[in-house]
Every structure is written in C-alpha cells, then in structure tokens.
Symmetry: C2
Subunit: 144 residues, 2 copies
C-alpha cells in the first residue's frame, strides 16, 4: 500500500473542496449580474427538472443535508422564486416547487451561466470534462 496517498495533502475531500472554491469564483463572477448565488442556481435548476418535490427528495438529489436545504430555500421562498406547500396527501411532507418568477430568474441567470460554462469547457476541453464529470458521478454513487 502506498504511503504517498495517505498524506493529508492528497485528501479526496480536501482536494474537492479546494477545487470547488477555485472554480466557483468564475461562475460567481459571471452570474453576479443575475443576482443568483451558486447554490440557488443549482436548487432552481433541479426544481425545474423535477417539478413539485418533497424537501427530502430534493436534498437527496443535491447530496445535501436536508436541514441545509431547508435554510437555502428560505431566501428563495422569501424572494418568491420558490413555493413551499404541505402535500395534500401527507401533511408531514412539504412540496417544493419553482414559481413562474423563479423560472424567469433562472432563465436570466442561465444566460450568464452559459458564458462561464462555455469559457470553462473551452479551457479544460469538452472531452476532459465529460470524463471528469463521469468520475465525479461515480464518486457520489460510491458514497451513497
């Protein structure tokens, strides 16, 4: 067994977070005019694809703590971009959905996002990203 990779400098978690921070700056800068934070963009994107969905399920999809999502939803609900209602079937469940205003804001932000994403793909190469994305997906499935 290699000792090499058992040095904290090679921590999987640390390297992922470090890289995430580095990359986020570009997207944050590009999307600033839209007034949507990185995480909010991700939440709205998922919501648009999923339709009304329980908080827990959305959290699972985002690989995010349920309680973290609850708080991240607050500013979106306050801003009218997201709607949160009890399910008619099960009073415990809160169904979260994107509103029309949310869809509009998302569409606006997507324009800025696309620029950043295009620049990023241009830098690293589409093929490289395809492979990297696949490895990240595998990593997530691994730990689930």
């Amino acid at each position: 067994m290699t000792d090499f990779l058992l040095d904290p400098a090679h921590c999987v978690s640390g390297n992922l977070h470090k890289t995430a921070r580095a990359v986020s700056r570009l997207y944050a800068d590009a999307m600033r005019p839209a007034g949507l934070a990185r995480s909010q963009f991700a939440v709205l994107g998922h919501l648009e694809r999923l339709g009304p969905v329980p908080v827990s399920e959305l959290a699972d999809r985002l690989y995010m703590e349920r309680t973290t999502l609850t708080r991240n939803l607050s500013p979106l609900v306050d801003g009218g971009l997201v709607d949160r209602q009890p399910s008619p079937q099960d009073a415990r469940v809160k169904l979260v959905a994107i509103t029309d205003a949310g869809r509009a804001k998302l569409a606006e932000a997507r324009g800025y996002w696309r620029e950043a994403q295009a620049r990023m793909l241009d830098s690293i190469g589409e093929d490289a990203w395809r492979k990297l994305e696949d490895q990240l997906r595998q990593l997530r499935r691994m730990v689930r």
Copy 2:
C-alpha cells in the same frame, strides 16, 4: 459546439460542490472523535508543511478567500492550535503558525483521517484517484 454540456446539470462548479458534499460526510464521520472539522484539518495540514506564513499566502494555497480564512482561523487560535503574530519585518503582515498543541491535535486527527482516506482509496482505486487528483489540480491552475 455541443449543447449537451451547456445544460446546468453539467455545471462544473455545481458538480464539484455536490461531490464535495457527498464525500465530506465520510471524512467528517470518521474524524468526529478527533474534534477537528474538515476545513480545520486542511488548514493545520498546510500550516505544518509551510511553517509561519502570512494569512494571504495561506489563503492562496488553499484557494480560499483571505477573509474566509481569517474567520476559519478564529476557532483554531481560540483553541490554541494556531498562533497569529505580526511580522517583525512588516507590521502589516500577520504570520500564522501551528502550535505544539496544534501539531498534537493534527497527529491525533490524522489517525482517523487515514482510515477514511484508506477506505476511500479502496473504493475508487488508487490509480483512479491519482488521475482524478491530477485533473483537479489542472483545473485549479487553469482558473488561477
């Protein structure tokens, strides 16, 4: 140009953060007995390798906002794991260094960390991680 990768689901930043969250849980769980948070472990690890270093330089190495690091250092300084002193050469510069207590705590935490890292490497394969880590490093250099 492929439209495929210009869908928010393929966002580089989003995928990185999502994966980082997923992976962090394992390390956090494993290291909980040590009482060191993920980020704190990373900071101490860097400090041990670097020796006394200005806040800004440490922030650069961590690809972290300087002001974020300042706050992350607070609990470490309060806990006596890190020392923060003005530089004798330049009164503007604050030199940050790991203390003996910090080294001890780091050594303790490293035991727990090693278990998590070993499990992770076992799951994804050492070779796969070597390649992935390299791609992440390239990504960071790219955006610097």
